[in-house]
Symmetry: C2
């Protein structure tokens, strides 16, 4: 069987460019014992993948993609042929797959996709997958919001941010989002129930935070770092918590400009970085609660689905411009190759 | 009764100077109901007091000293006359007293000094007081060291740092100190049991940390901030903790130079500021354990005692040059004023 797949051709410098990737044609090997042939359906795109491309160091070391290797990413697919006892043709599965139409992976690394009736299987990559879990544990366990507190989240209309604000609301907090367009401001305040939002491209963030967080900031869920992070620092309350999920504004900088020296001690601030895998033994809890909230309509989500394998690099690059509202996915079509 | 006392004459700019203070002669009022007249014996000096002088904001707001007010500080004294049921003449007491020979304070704000036999009452200001408690809770509760880990502490020969390293050793960790002279390096390694130490004035701190912390740094107890903090960042292990006790290198800067943007998320680092009062409900626990360790010889301490009320400003200013080894105190003599 033939497939198209994306190979990393060089280590990106700064913002990745389409030329860093090449879509090549290749033959897919037959699955060996315990291996599975998968037709890739939806590929998850996440800013954190930036650090896996090329030679940079990364916390998820084993997932690094070296130059001239096939790019991989978390994805949902359909089993075409299985030599693994847990899976049969037609099963919907998720796991680390290739940026490809088809690929062969160890069945030991796959999980079944299990979403409530009426919910797209792609939700296993967004609100019912790593995205939702990241929001859930990052906010509740790292941020530790208490009822009545003010929670500020950056990249608020993004995959994780949009869920963070909604969980904050469910936890009895005021959710204030920082985002990059009036459309996104309207989305999070009108559809997701954020109390307020700030458009960092047109508002003075520092001043807007003062206006929209009159009681200060108790939890800052940081997705972006850089100047937006700096602006929040001055509004933190005593004993505030900063949950550091990501620093997208810095990912493409080899040597970021220095920033203000924050005196964590003066306000007894706790700033803590986390990755969702740290909570692996509690994924079931998160999936259950997120599923309940989704079923009862307490949270909603959007996916920004780009069409076609050829758009994987551009959709990934678009993350750094904030092109997406909600979770950025690429849907892979199989056309004449459909088995 | 007459007393001499120090009045803050202007808000210090940058490093405080002796001209910011004036030693004046004044009459001490008779103690009213529930008040106590105290002869001040030992005054505790601490870099954190810098932020209380003048108009700067401070976490311990009620202790701020405005221009033309008498300077106050934690101190030990002897009761001369008491109108409070808990205290009688001759009692040794501690509390927030004036930088004075004599002062009148509310007995409700005083505590009895209770040190083991053979230990100077001044220990109530150092290892058995706020200093020891700060080291105890900051290291054990904020830093959360585990046996076998490497703990780095800056201002290692100072009041708090010298206790931190010894508690780290008792917790089964490798203690590595950063300090400012060869004498201090020798003190912490030869007398306090630190495994290694670095003289930041003569060593390349970045390189020395690599050599002396071959397994990386798990806990950094930060007393200084600034460039030493920066140097430690690169050596932090995954899931390292930074306990921010102070940032003495920045206290005299209105507008510190910016620093590197640290990606807490990459290494899931937790950085947390604290003040010892946050642990007030557990002071007894700390005092007991520190007292035991002291009695059994598991920890030792030094006090750097300057003599005479007139040296209070210079001793305080000396803290910022690292003049002291161990806890900086000033002993007040009462000469002809002795009642």
């Amino acid at each position: 069987m033939q497939t198209r797949k994306h190979v990393l051709r060089r280590s990106p410098e700064g913002v990745p460019s389409e030329d860093d990737f090449e879509l090549v044609e290749a033959t897919v090997a037959d699955p060996a014992d315990r291996e599975v042939l998968v037709a890739v359906r939806y590929v998850s795109l996440d800013p954190g993948q930036r650090s896996r491309l090329g030679t940079g160091s990364d916390y998820a070391g084993s997932l690094n993609v070296a130059v001239d290797e096939v790019v991989t990413g978390y994805a949902v697919g359909e089993v075409v042929e299985s030599n693994h006892p847990d899976f049969a043709a037609g099963d919907s599965v998720k796991g680390e797959l290739e940026w490809a139409e088809y690929c062969v992976v160890s069945g030991d690394e796959l999980s079944p996709v299990d979403v409530p009736a009426g919910v797209s299987e792609s939700a296993a990559l967004s609100v019912l997958g790593g995205t939702g879990r990241t929001a859930y544990f990052g906010l509740l366990d790292v941020g530790e919001p208490r009822p009545g507190e003010t929670v500020v989240v950056s990249a608020a209309a993004g995959a994780v941010g949009s869920v963070v604000g909604q969980i904050a609301r469910l936890a009895g907090c005021r959710a204030v989002g920082i985002t990059g367009s009036d459309e996104k401001v309207a989305y999070v305040t009108e559809q997701l129930g954020f109390e307020a939002a700030i458009n960092y491209r047109t508002d003075d963030v520092e001043q807007a935070l003062g206006e929209r967080c009159p009681d200060g900031v108790d939890v800052y869920f940081d997705n972006v770092g850089g100047e937006i992070y700096d602006a929040v620092l001055g509004h933190l309350n005593q004993r505030a918590r900063i949950a550091v999920c990501g620093k997208i504004s810095l990912y493409n900088e080899d040597d970021p400009d220095p920033g203000p020296r924050f005196m964590h001690q003066r306000k007894r601030v706790r700033e803590e970085g986390f990755i969702v895998h740290d909570f692996a033994n509690r994924f079931e809890e998160a999936d259950e609660r997120l599923g309940e909230w989704l079923s009862e309509g307490s949270i909603s989500f959007r996916e920004h689905v780009s069409d076609g394998i050829e758009h994987l690099p551009s959709a990934f690059i678009g993350l750094f411009d904030g092109d997406n509202i909600g979770k950025q996915l690429v849907e892979i079509h199989h056309g004449g190759n459909e088995p």
